[in-house]
Subunit: 344 residues, 2 copies
């Protein structure tokens, strides 16, 4: 399958993040994407191509307009008051407060961000837009008849909600892609999120919609990020009632339990009978991942790819997390190769 | 008047706070309280006494029980996972998430905190409790017949809401005192907040109650902390409709405009005819305050005290903010002396 990659991802680059009351070495770094790209090339997965540029229409189809305007202008506003330093929040709205705009960039930042891991830098918007372009180019390939494509997106996207960002994510690449499939005529689209962390942004975006099924297999939010959302009893609302499936697993889950959850998720997707599938592909489920607590081995990833392939759906893979630097490329590519082997 | 002071305030002590994407020198430091105490003594305001201890009843009368339990055990839980480092948040709930408890102290912290300026330390709970005891001891003095008292509280309290903390505040000393007056039989109590910053926590606590009038004169939240709340059209709800008065002033406000706002606030209090008055006394309205933007001069503070005294109400003053180290003590004491001179 084709891989879509933009080197603009490197515009989002920090050396540290805030945790445990202070700075620690950053996990979500440009080298992640470079290593995945190297593995794609080494394994001969297929051609690597640059994305073509898209306008903001597909972004605005899933994200709140005021949020998108904020992100687009955030760096410029921040620098005007704070100077050219990374934009980290120092406050955010208390409960029961309203959403009246202020004239202070720090307050506007606090309104939209949900953690200390996702600073806005000079190149954040351009990097995030390039990631979206990768996903949308993948959609276009599939719409033109390709059976599958791999959007090698960075920064990741699945933690970005309708009107908030965080968890290293700014724009929700997978959700934008899913909506783009709908805009191009697909009647039903499924998103399968196999990142270690719950795809809370994707759930948020489609929670009240019945035309996009969201399925996520992830660490129990009682134990792990994003904590406040991702529980099994969140099943959608309104038109979306029943169209959200969360399959949380406890710390220490191995492939035996993971495979059962995946089979259940795939069963739900099969029953939904979508026209297109988007896979939020994170490999932080890997046993050596430095911030995660599942126990998947490298040999498990081709099997996951094969199980997904058995759905027989045109499939866009969108890169999300994975922080075990030595293994991320191999794990991603082996999953995609497993998919291709099964699809034939 | 008597001053109530506990040296346990010094248990809340940090050298830096997080702003502009990194660490800056802390503003809310123990020396603030020491300088106010020195000025009280120097000026001969009256006796200084230690607080007597109170149980948690008055705290639970205004704060959410789960929030209080969290604060009480926060340091112990945090240290168990993170080690003995100050507890700063690194994430908080996105919009539309629920409030299911997790097993991770960082996630629980994020649920209750609203900024990066209010770390939980080993002594935070004890310091906050001592501040509450100062306020409650002041209530007891007034209940026993004293016309006024000064609770020299630190950490401050007026930014702490029903179930959140921040802005250097953990427990809302002034709100707890106001409620305690009610519990002791006062039918109506007014809280006048003259700190530079909106008393958002106090407003939050009494927003739906008609028995406690809350009046705050503060920097326009479009321009300054707490930003997301404190607008003029927030007037209370339910039983509390009409019992909240916000008087925001723009950056650069001098005493002429301040006095007009104060007169309006005092007029509202007079019309409410309370039995008791609690004054959230911040002097960050001072022209040289390093984090604020009003232009009050030291000579204005006695006049404010005199205007408050003209209400003729038993009055508890509760210390809130003020960060111009050289002037904080004198400004606070001159306000209190102005009050006493008018009361006679
Ligand atoms: Zn992840
Ligand atoms: Zn203040």
């Amino acid at each position: 399958m084709k891989t879509i990659f933009s080197d603009k991802h490197a515009l989002q680059s920090v050396e540290r993040e805030f945790y445990r009351g202070g700075w620690v070495e950053a996990f979500e770094i440009p080298r992640r994407a470079e290593l995945v790209l190297a593995a794609v090339t080494r394994a001969g997965l297929g051609p690597v191509m640059a994305p073509r540029p898209f306008d903001l229409g597909p972004v605005l189809a899933v994200h709140d307009a005021a949020f998108v305007r904020f992100l687009e202008g955030a760096w410029e506003s921040w620098v005007a008051e704070m100077g050219p330093v990374p934009a980290y929040p120092n406050l955010w709205p208390p409960r029961r407060s309203r959403t009246i705009p202020t004239v202070r960039p720090g307050a506007e930042l606090g309104r939209y961000v949900v953690d200390m891991s996702s600073p806005i830098l000079a190149g954040t918007w351009e990097a995030a837009r390039a990631g979206v372009d990768c996903a949308l180019t993948g959609v276009a390939l599939i719409d033109a008849g390709e059976p599958a494509a791999f959007a090698l997106c960075r920064p990741p996207g699945h933690h970005a909600g309708r009107d908030y960002f965080g968890g290293y994510c700014f724009l929700n690449n997978a959700a934008i892609a899913a909506q783009q499939f709908r805009s191009l005529g697909a009647e039903r689209v499924a998103v399968l999120d196999i990142d270690y962390h719950h795809g809370n942004g994707t759930q948020d975006i489609f929670y009240d919609r019945g035309d996009v099924l969201t399925v996520s297999i992830h660490a129990d939010p009682v134990q792990d990020y994003p904590y406040y959302v991702g529980f099994a009893d969140e099943t959608g609302e309104g038109q979306g009632a029943g169209a959200n499936l969360n399959l949380p697993l406890p710390w220490g889950a191995d492939f035996a339990s993971y495979r059962r959850a995946l089979a259940e998720g795939l069963g739900r997707i099969r029953a939904f009978a979508p026209d297109r599938l988007v896979v939020s592909l994170g490999v932080d489920t890997f046993t050596d991942d430095p911030i995660s607590h599942f126990r998947l081995e490298s040999g498990d990833y081709p099997r996951i790819g094969a199980m997904i392939a058995a759905l027989g759906l045109p499939t866009l893979f969108v890169l999300e997390g994975g922080y075990a630097i030595e293994a991320i490329g191999e794990n991603v590519v082996q999953l995609l190769k497993g998919y291709e082997a099964e699809r034939g």
